[in-house]
Structure formats: C-alpha cells, structure tokens
C-alpha cells in the first residue's frame, strides 16, 4: 500500500468506494506529480548523516540473505498435530509482505506429509518403468546433461484457503495463514516427454504413478496426456537448485494441477494402464459434495484471486490515496481479467494486470484507490481465459459437504473499518 494526500474532487472514479481509473496514476505522473502524488516536503534544520555513510561496509559473503530488518518476513507454519506428528506441516507464503509475482525460494509454501527428507544427491535416482520398452534409471549427473526448458508457474495446495472454506466465523489472520499455500516460481528442468520417449511408452501406458523418495513415499496417479504435454522434471527453482523443501534434488512439475500431484523428491515413474487409487486420490484429496457423493481426480486448480495490499491484519494509515494490489491465477491457463470492488460488490472496476500475463502463473493486479475513511468492503474477482469466474463463498459452499476444504477458490472480501483495521469477512 502506498499512500499520499490528494484532492478527491479532481479524481477520475472508476467505481464506488473510491476506486480510481487505472489510467489515473500514469496520467498524474506524466503531469509531473502536479495532482499531488508527491510526498509533502519535510522541513529539516540540519541534514542528518547516518553512521553507515561514514564507515566501510561489511565484507562480501558467499550466499546473500535478506536484510536483518526483514527477519520477520517468514512462512506461517501450521502443525495441526504438533504433539504427536510434527512431521506433518503446512507453511504459508507471507503474500501480504511481498510484492511482484515470483516467490522467493525460502518463502515458497510447503506441505509436508512426512517431514522434509535429507537426500544424498549422489545416491538419488529416477526410475522409469512399467509399461515401457526400456526400463531406465537416471542419476543426477546424467540428467544434468539433458537440454532444459524454463517456465514460470504457480503451485497451489488443493487445501489452500482451508480456514475460509470450513470455519463458521472468518479467521482473523494474514494472507500467509489464509491463502499462503500458493507460490510462484521460475522452474528449470527437463521436459518429461523427453525422458518418457527415451524409455519408450507402450501404447497401453495411459497413466504414470509418480512416487517420491520421502519417508511416506508419497504417490499419485497422473494421466500420461499431462506428463507428455507440459510435465517437467524440475531441477532448478529461481535459477538455483531446488530447495530441500521443494523436492531436492528433483521434483515433478505439472502446471496448473493441485500441488500434491507435483511429487517432490521424485524417484519413480511407473507407467500403468489405469490409475492405482493411491492413498491421496482415495481420500485426503477427494472432495465430498453436498449430496454425499465425492469427486475423485480433480486435478486443475480453479480461477482465484485475493487482494494482498491491503489485507487482513493490516491497519490503514488514514484516509487518502492507496494502490490496491493483489494476485490472481488459474490452473486453466491465463487470467483474462480481475475486477475490484470497494463497495461490497455493488460496483466493480477492472484492475490493471502486470504483464506479461503467463499461463498457470501468478499475475499481479493493481488499481488506484482513494479511501475517504468510511467503512467499506474491498474484494477482487478473477475471470480466466476459459470464461470461468471466481464464485462468491456462499455459492462455493452450496456445492460441497460442510467438511470439504479442498479446491476453495471463492472471492475474498476484506472489511475496512472506520478505524482503518482490515478484517477477514464472509459475504
């Protein structure tokens, strides 16, 4: 959120609640800040010279780290059964403390079903077997010699936003807890197709059961179609080796598909005729519907967005100008548009999307806003290129059994109180 004072009479409104035209900011910048967007001058008796400008800086270090003053920027860790099973944990990306679209590697969300394994890369191997002409195994040294591709993609846990999905009253927490199980990375690796073709998939090989080298050997059945179209064996995350938390030394990447299928610490690809109904696709990652029946093999994540600035737990710094900013994405391809409302959904204005808008990747949206200090509800609503639109929470809830918390993609409303507190609300 950035803020400055502004004469509200001269503003070009785009919708209710003080939403401004997204062309406004640029126009006023072009006019040399004449519209009052510059910080007011501060009178100063004597210019202070801070001590760091009067000393030599610290010596070089081999691996950089965030500024000490930023040490509070951490993942929010949830250990639902910490007394008996601390190895099962969720850690949410603090989106309300970040800008841009790439998630720093150390802040990428994690869901660990059995903790983070300590893998010796020299002994790790990837096996391809089952319905193939040539069962093969690869070590990391061999894989390093394959041509690579690079692509930016989000990963989202099917259980992201679970508190909003199931809690009767909205939980007051930041975007790390509420929506942190989604992150965005530039991945580099080997197209899965190249490795599968080397092994030679037999015509009856229609599914691939992927398994990790972690304690529980997490396994999922994946359609061959997906593996061959854009599946990637990811080795690098934002230019450096994948972090242990994200699957070191290698993970499966299936753009747009629920996080659980993107097997970390990948060690085996077993080609089969049919899905094998692994534990996760039998229960934990199935959705019970309102009528008691269940959905199985719900792979792609739906269209979704939320406003990161301002968002719950923040406090507004008084009436005036702000930039509303947030993230949108869809497992179906590209985000087509994001609309923002500042009057609880009575009127909407289209936000600007920071380009390039990439498929199956987080997209940053923004819109200038003049808050007059009165209470209101802010929210964003994304539409993807297939025409799918984010539903209101009540519509989403009506589809599912009360216990379901998977594939929640409803609109996120934030209440701004007269005091400037930003709160999570259901509408």
């Amino acid at each position: 959120m950035t803020r400055s004072t502004k004469d509200s009479a001269a503003l070009d409104y785009a919708a209710g609640g003080g939403l401004l035209s997204r062309r406004m900011l640029l126009a006023s910048a072009a006019a040399g800040g004449a519209a009052g967007l510059l910080q007011p001058r501060v009178a100063r008796a004597e210019a202070e010279i801070p001590e760091w400008t009067k000393a030599a800086g610290a010596r070089a270090r081999g691996y950089g780290a965030p500024a000490e003053a930023e040490s509070a920027v951490q993942r929010a860790i949830i250990e639902p059964w910490q007394d008996v099973a601390p190895a099962f944990s969720l850690s949410g990306t603090p989106h309300h403390k970040l800008r841009g679209t790439i998630t720093p590697s150390g802040l990428h969300y994690e869901v660990h079903h059995g903790g983070r394994p300590d893998i010796d890369p020299a002994r790790h191997r990837l096996m391809i077997h089952g319905l193939v002409e040539r069962p093969l195994q690869f070590d990391l040294k061999a894989l390093e010699r394959y041509p690579t591709v690079t692509a930016t993609h989000f990963l989202e846990c099917a259980g992201n936003s679970l508190f909003n999905a199931v809690m009767p009253e909205p939980m007051q927490a930041g975007c790390d807890m509420l929506h942190g199980l989604v992150s965005n990375t530039e991945w580099t690796g080997i197209p899965m197709r190249v490795l599968m073709e080397e092994a030679g998939v037999k015509p009856e090989g229609k599914w691939v059961v992927a398994a990790g080298a972690d304690g529980p050997s997490l396994a999922r059945s994946i359609p061959m179609e997906k593996i061959m179209s854009d599946g990637m064996l990811a080795l690098y995350q934002n230019g450096e080796r994948i972090r242990p938390e994200q699957g070191y030394p290698m993970r499966l990447l299936l753009p747009g598909f629920e996080g659980n299928m993107n097997i970390k610490w990948l060690t085996s690809l077993w080609v089969t005729e049919a899905p094998v109904h692994t534990k996760d696709e039998s229960g934990e990652y199935t959705e019970i519907l309102a009528d008691g029946s269940s959905l199985q093999f719900t792979f792609a994540m739906g269209v979704k967005s939320f406003i990161t600035h301002p968002s719950a737990t923040m406090t507004m710094s008084g009436p005036g100008f702000y930039e509303i900013s947030g993230l949108a994405w869809t497992g179906a391809g590209k985000v087509a548009k994001v609309e923002v409302s500042a009057d609880g959904g009575a009127s909407w204005a289209e936000a600007a999307l920071a380009g390039p808008v990439l498929p199956q990747a987080l997209t940053r949206f923004s819109l200038p806003w003049h808050w007059d200090g009165s209470p209101l509800v802010l929210m964003s609503r994304a539409t993807d290129e297939t025409g799918a639109v984010q539903p209101p929470r009540a519509d989403w809830k009506a589809r599912y059994h009360a216990s379901n918390f998977l594939h929640y993609n409803a609109i996120q409303p934030w209440q701004i109180t007269a005091e400037g507190a930003v709160q999570n609300v259901y509408l």
Binding site: P80, V84, A85, A87, F88, H113, G114, M127, H129, G130, R134, P135, L136, Q137, F138, D139, A142, L143, R145, Y146, P147, V194, L195, E197, E198, V209, A211, G215, P216, S217, P223, G256, S268, W270, A274, V276, H277, T278, K279, S282, G283, E284, T286, E287, I288, S293, S294, L295, Q296, F297, T298, F299, A300, G302, G331, A332, T386, H401, S403, H407
Partner: protein, 172 residues
C-alpha cells in the same frame, strides 16, 4: 518402396527423432532394482505379497504402533481417524476409500509416520483387517491375504465421480 516399408521407415524416423531430443543417458533398470514403493498395489490386488493377518492380531499391533496418533480404538484421532466417519474426519480410510487394497499399500509404505517401511507384510495385512473390521466392513474371523483383501467390497465404492474422465483438465 512399398507403402509398408515407407511407413516403417517413417516410424523409425519419428522414433529416432524423438529419442534424439535427449542425450539418451538412461541406464537399464533391472526388475530386481525396483523397490516395492516404486509400484502400487492395484485395486485388483496385483502387487500384493504373500502373508496374512486377522483383526485380532491387528488390534495388538495397532495399540502398540498406531494408537498415539490415530486414537485408542481408531476413531479418536487426533490424526485422521481411520475408523468413522466423525466430526474429526469425514473420510475414514476404512470405510470411505473405494478400494481396500490401498490400505495395504499405504500402511506398508508410509506408516507408522516415524518408521515407515518397518512393518512386516503379515503385520500390514493384520492392520488392514483391524481397520476394516472396526468399520464393520469385514467380520472378525476373515484373515486378510492377497486373495481376500482385493475381494473386500468397500461401502463407499461407486460413490465417486471421476472428474478427469468427465471433463479432463477443466477445473471443477
């Protein structure tokens, strides 16, 4: 050149082209080098090893190795109780899952959490029998084996809609 030969040549070309995209550095993988967790027991029971176990045998192992996390009788939790459903967990493994074979495979590869792959095949059959019996899916006498486990009819089987088959990658 006959049509047949042309097609064969074209096929060979495509195959070579496809393979030439990578340097072809995969090493042959022998069946004996594939650990059990690189496959999965299928709903038909393919992959089930020899062995057997009853619910009574399973109850003892369960009390010693599972109860701290999943509850004294399997329904108390705190972790996803396998017996139910109840307010803690709407999808108990022993009655919600479509196939009983998944119980065997999952317990063998993943449980107990702190010592996965430490159970013997007999112990895993016994634990599957215990969980199924507690859910009223099998009777107390029937031992679970490579023959009986795939034959178990799970009560929630047939209550699943396959989203991938219905609409592919389109989100629900």
């Amino acid at each position: 050149m006959s049509i047949f030969k042309l097609t064969a040549a074209a096929l060979l070309l495509t195959a070579t082209a496809a393979r030439s995209e990578g340097p072809g550095l995969g090493q042959p993988l022998e069946a004996s080098d594939i650990p059990f967790y690189a496959t999965y027991v299928t709903p038909e029971g393919a992959g089930l090893p020899a062995g057997s176990g009853t619910a009574a045998q399973g109850a003892e192992i369960y009390a010693a190795k599972c109860a701290t996390c999943h509850g004294a009788t399997g329904s108390e939790g705190p972790v996803m109780p396998p017996v139910g459903p109840n307010d803690l967990w709407a999808k108990p493994a022993g009655s919600y899952w479509p196939y009983a074979t998944t119980l065997f495979d999952y317990i063998r590869r993943a449980m107990p959490l702190e010592a996965p792959k430490s159970l013997s095949d007999d112990e895993v059959y016994a634990l599957a029998a215990f969980i199924l019996e507690r859910n009223g899916v099998i009777d107390a006498e029937t031992a679970m084996t490579a023959e009986t486990l795939p034959a178990v009819k799970m009560p929630n089987h047939g209550n699943f809609l396959d989203v991938w088959a219905k609409q592919g990658a389109k989100p629900w």
